[in-house]
Amino acid sequence: MPTLRKPITLLLLPVLFASSTITAFAGEDQMGFTTYFFSDSGENSVITTSFNLAKQLLEQTMLLLDIELDNVTVPPVTAVTGATRPQRRKGEPFEKNRGQVIIGIEQGIWTDATLAANVYSSQEVDYVSNSAIGTFSQDLFGRNTTLTLRGQYNHDRVGEILDNGDVVNKRKDLYTGTGGLSQLLSPTTVLDLSYDYVLVTGFQSDPYRQVNVRDASGVTVQTDELHPSKRTRQAGAAKISQMIPSIEASIIGSYRYYFDSWDVHSHTGELRFNKYIIRDLILGIDYRYYTQSAAYFYKDQYVGQQYLGSASRTADYKLKPFSSNNFGLSLTYLLQGLARASKDLDFLQNSSIEVMYFRYFNDLEFSADIIQTSLKFSL
């Protein structure tokens, strides 16, 4: 029971947070607060708390701020999970924290167009990621169409904590280009299309992960994972959102096809159904199916002296062939009911409280439970 105290407290935090902050903002600003608890069949757990704010500074200028904190606990090393954490003190649970900040400005530049610039920084004891993002968005054809273009550069430092506690860093760079198109098809239907291209260069292995290799004499030895230093990744996605006014519900279906230069191909399909079950209370039901092929250098068993040299090898579960299923349930309560009840609470007109549960499992005998609570205010 003591192990549940922290996640339960954090999941209740949005309610406490709301009562202390809802009077802090005024005007057309938006803010949100989210807590997230994750646990899986490998006894890993993550607790995340997140706060975001969009504040209008001038008529066409918006300030964006997002702060996120993670607490990650990895169990003692076992035969199954021993690759995902430092080897020192491997008989004890490993706990680490991560902090993330995004700061941005969104500026209206001409009729129906905005330009946004964001900087992103994420830090944990053995991983640092810094990023700059530029986004251009233009409404077209009487605002029936929205075109969005985004460019992003990430500079990451992948760290390895050595036995003596020192950290050795290796460099990874990511260049991302994204295009998106949203199109109104009718008063109740919207189509979204997107395309992503990502070039990744540098160190792309896990510095802690070991691969079993059988050498020329038939002896199995462990050696560091070694992934290629360049990877191009592409994805195209389509989503259609359909409102069904007669039953006060919506259906949202999406599909994504992904492929990369390591020969990983994947298909992702998702279907979501949202319905008002009573006034101001929305039930959401979600199903997601995912399947992927293996990277060209993935093998169940590496045999040969070359795998102790420069030949690529991996123990990464993300590069194996597998399929997964994800079921989700959510309840969203719109606080507009409170706004209707009292003029003093009119500022809650576009605010909501949401609770979500996801159950994920795949055919690699992995499963996870995810609980998320969030508060969104539009003040």
């Binding site: 995340t48 680490k96 993330q100 810094n130 195209g236 006014p245 992904y258 719109l334 795949n362």
Partner: protein, 75 residues
Amino acid sequence: MTKAFVGLLLLACSVTLSSLNCANVKASEREKLADPIMERQNQFAKQTLSQKFFLSREGSIGGAMGIGGGCGCAK
């Protein structure tokens, strides 16, 4: 497979471009599209926490217009 992907992309673009001429939804007709059950409110361009989880377990990215890098997810 890449050719199939390009084909699908072109088909999707064709459908969208052809719809530009026939779909003209007036501002006064868009009330239903703004309903919370349509999930169109995505002002903050960051990946959601559930998307972050998928990134940590699966070998694919993209399709969500998100910002990322470093996930605190036991890599």
